[in-house]
Symmetry: D2
């Protein structure tokens, strides 16, 4: 039985507690939050969970095996560092850390102490992304050409991070999971329309070493809610529309054919239209699978699908994007 | 009565001939194309139109008042220069010219000879764009924040120009028509997936002097056909979806409210959701209005809504985008 | 303070308990269900609620002012009758009763005992239907012509009632609420495809005394989920699409114009296309408003918007539809 | 070479002339219309076509092999009768005739004279319906359960026939083509809202001898344009949405499973959700295939896919629907 402590009972904490409660082999032993009112809520709902405002208490408790950190990103590094130093496994909310250097230190610490370090990139565990991964990893799309995502709506303006730090981690993590190549540089453009210097609309391009390109459009000030990902390959293309209630994933048997000539510049490029297919998706709650994956990795010592390194890769792109966006799209090497 | 000659009877020429034929006060006197087979088609359909392969003949004919040029862009400059030098007004297909310097020379020539110089940015004359212009110019959106367009599909790969030169002129012209500020610089990112160095997917950002930002996504290799423009202001937002059969324009009474504080960094930003309104649009064929506008400007000496300068502004952005895309998003000043 | 008892803690009961708990002036004093396991759930969640399997206990308890009945329809009549005979107000789940005669007896009993009798036609209290009611009752649509609803999906096959009894009550109640005329007769067609004689696809037409017509399509065996209502008038038309996440209600300024002639048979009928408007809708949970309406009516003695008579009107149409559907669409007078 | 004469150059005639002109082995020798202005149009466009106002001339001309009749339905019978009596094959616009008795006489005449008699149910020749036919005829849907179609819009009010005669022939013909069972009776409901007794909204049910049911909703006064057909079977379901630009046909691997029990009334019915598949459709113009089918049948003596009998079957249902709609849904046997 793994005893876990959940840190932070704000927006996401209740979902974490509920899902870990329902996970075989896991006990939510403790919930820790600076706000005692929230602790009252958790205790009313789960009388068996010990509630505390004192993280020290958690760290010193030898019966706690693992810590799930769902606090503001600025606190991630410190909370995780102390967890590792006290021999506890860590599941971290996204984004992993506020900077690459923090993330690297945590990855090293976890490795040094031989502890599980996992990041909660929940979208990776949805039926839609799992199906895309299955399709892509078995080569159905052929050579991959580009990844294009749009995640926009009229949404909450964050006051400490820009719209890329807020919304792009989801899609960067999905890209990181689906695509095999190596990102080499980043360009970001955007604007702030409320006078506080925090971009509310942003466009991010990621270049890969193999000609692959990824683009992310994030916006807090859009008239409509759009959440789409397109992944295009030489044989087929996938469109993932998360706003669809059914048929979130559509696979298009479409593409181009390059005529054979001596010189590619003379080649006639025709296109091909075939069937479309919307596979049935698994509907298990993604966070349940996150909890299961974490529990299993803690038990077996296996590396999680979304380990600290994949969380760090997302932070690398975010940090570079921030350098680029302040320099109007200047290419920043990764 | 204005006598016009149409140069080029390829993809767009037949539409031009048909619409000018049906325009009051205009006679299509002549059609000129290097391909005599095409000329056979025009003559079978319009026996009154003189068909010729010889542009010299058109230039020397004093009864021809104006020339409509619908030939490949590489020929635009030369054909227009000679038309102006022979005292003929010019309506030019988009994009105006293959380079800014060519465009500038033509604008100067037209002015020097006091001749009408108009560019056929057809979209500007659609019911949808005219309605957007009406809404925006009467201030309904408030201060303008951004312009975002997506024009993608699985389409014909051009062999001489990249996807921005092919598809972006439509949307840049719309932006140029709707937005009042001054574009100052351009960043473009993209990739080529067929080995000939011509980008088939591209993202273009245009920065303005007043904080406004515009973005264009163009793609020849997309699984679905999307043609949208969003224009967002401080009071309202407009979504233009050209793939909708009705309700192409939707006006959203949505936006943000910035709480009043001493320091904007502390201000709470809330958002507001109101009604949506899809105004009825005029359905006159846009090219008919283009023909009418050209005829009217030739007659009256008035400057066209889409004059040579607006055509030139589009070319300026395209030329800068090409410099930027080859340098991975490097900002290029306009 | 009104003390209520909730009867039945199955599918809908938990929503009723939660909403009444959060309603000012109401205490959920008791929850009664034959299944003691379910009672365990309610008690764990609401320790202050008394849980019992014995309805007699509820009836005899003088501190209980009102009973909310969310049990199978076959039990509605008996439970409500005894509630009224014991001086308790009743909120009844839809459909009101299994037959018209039962419904009429309950309406009489409620009146005789001067007790509030309300039916939980939840849809009437949604933002969408309230907005439609506002628009229609202020005459925006002009003279009403027809009501057309489609409520289909791949859904649970009921084993005791056909698809009209299962799904149509929602839309018949909406029609009854929006339309003023008097329904005079009913025709229903349908089929059973599973061999048990219970129709799983059905079409219901309701004729009114003033030429108005209403039609309902209900289906448990459809490939897609559709939930639409169209209401058409002489001036405007409304489309209510409950599957839309935003813009559930669209008002179309469209209609026909009948040319003036001596003889209507010669009149030219042209049509008119105008703007579309999607008003912002209130988002308060409908069941919260149901709870509030019931509490207010119990307190004030006012007749509820969805009183026993409106519930009875729905049952009249359902009962007639069953007679008609078994006779292949034979008109059944109401 | 088959010489054909086209009767009627109104709305559909130009499409017929164009398509027959482009059909191998066919010459449009003659076009006949009472309106000489229209004949001027056809002659300007096709100088080789002989234009006449005199049908007698057509009938007496031995070089004319076949007549294509695209005149108002009231004239169909007489024009076709005389064509057959003069030894000419006939392609008839839909609906075949204004009554069943007229249709039967024509079918007999054609048989007696051994002439081809075909009805132009154009939709049968579209890529969408051909694909549905392929899917259904190879048994993919399993046992067929129902056919449901909606064809509504804000459209032209006809002055001589109601909305069923105007719009339903398309969908009845599609049903007749796809479904094998025998229709046995018809119920129709509807209303007229303009005072001339001609129904502008109508609902038609067709019962089959094997439990299959078909339903048609037609409406000239709807806020939106909808054109859908659902065909549901025991294994799969098809949705045909003619308003989609791509993916007009969607095949859903969905259905119900009836648990095995002694008594079907006790059987638990569960449902099954699988993949969706949108096959690529052929895009040849349907009317081109109609022209080809007619030419081929005239040449070979083969019976057309849409022969006089299938046209007559549609008229049988229309005639019965008119009897039923005037009697408020009374079942009319076929």
């Amino acid at each position: 039985m793994i005893n876990i402590a959940v840190l932070g009972y704000g927006y996401w904490g209740p979902n974490l507690v509920r899902n870990f409660q329902e996970t075989q082999g896991v006990t939510v032993a403790c919930c820790c939050d600076a706000n005692s009112e929230r602790l009252g809520v958790v205790q009313a709902k789960y009388p068996s969970v010990h509630a505390t405002t004192c993280y020290e208490e958690v760290l010193k408790d030898p019966s706690i095996d693992a810590v799930v950190i769902a606090t503001p990103v600025a606190t991630h590094y410190d909370f995780a560092r102390r967890a590792f130093e006290n021999g506890k496994h860590v599941l971290m909310e996204k984004p992993l850390t506020a900077s690459v250097s923090e993330g690297e230190k945590l990855v090293d610490l976890a490795e040094k102490h031989q502890l599980t370090f996992m990041v909660d990139h929940t979208f990776i565990y949805t039926g839609a992304v799992r199906k895309m991964h299955e399709i892509i990893s078995q080569g159905d799309l052929g050579d991959l050409y580009y990844f294009d995502s749009v995640r926009i709506n009229l949404g909450l303006f964050q006051r400490d991070v820009n719209v890329l730090w807020d919304l792009a981690p989801h899609d960067i993590a999905i890209m990181e999971h689906l695509v095999e190549g190596m990102p080499v540089s980043v360009c970001a453009n955007g604007a702030c329309h409320v006078g506080n210097g925090i971009e509310n609309v942003a466009y991010l391009t990621v270049y890969f070493d193999n000609g692959f390109i990824a683009h992310f459009h994030n916006n807090w000030l859009a008239p409509v809610k759009i959440r789409t990902v397109m992944v295009c390959g030489s044989k087929k293309m996938v469109l993932y529309d998360d706003m669809e209630t059914s048929e979130k994933i559509k696979v298009y048997d479409r593409g181009i054919e390059i005529g054979r000539t001596e010189d590619v510049h003379d080649a006639r490029i025709s296109y091909r239209l075939g069937d479309m297919w919307a596979p049935k998706l698994e509907t298990t709650e993604a966070l349940r699978l996150v909890a299961g994956e974490f529990a299993d990795c803690v038990t077996s010592g296996r590396t999680p699908v979304t380990d600290g390194i994949s969380g760090l890769n997302v932070v690398k792109i975010l940090e570079a994007s921030e350098m680029s966006i302040k320099r109007r799209g200047k290419e920043v090497k990764l």
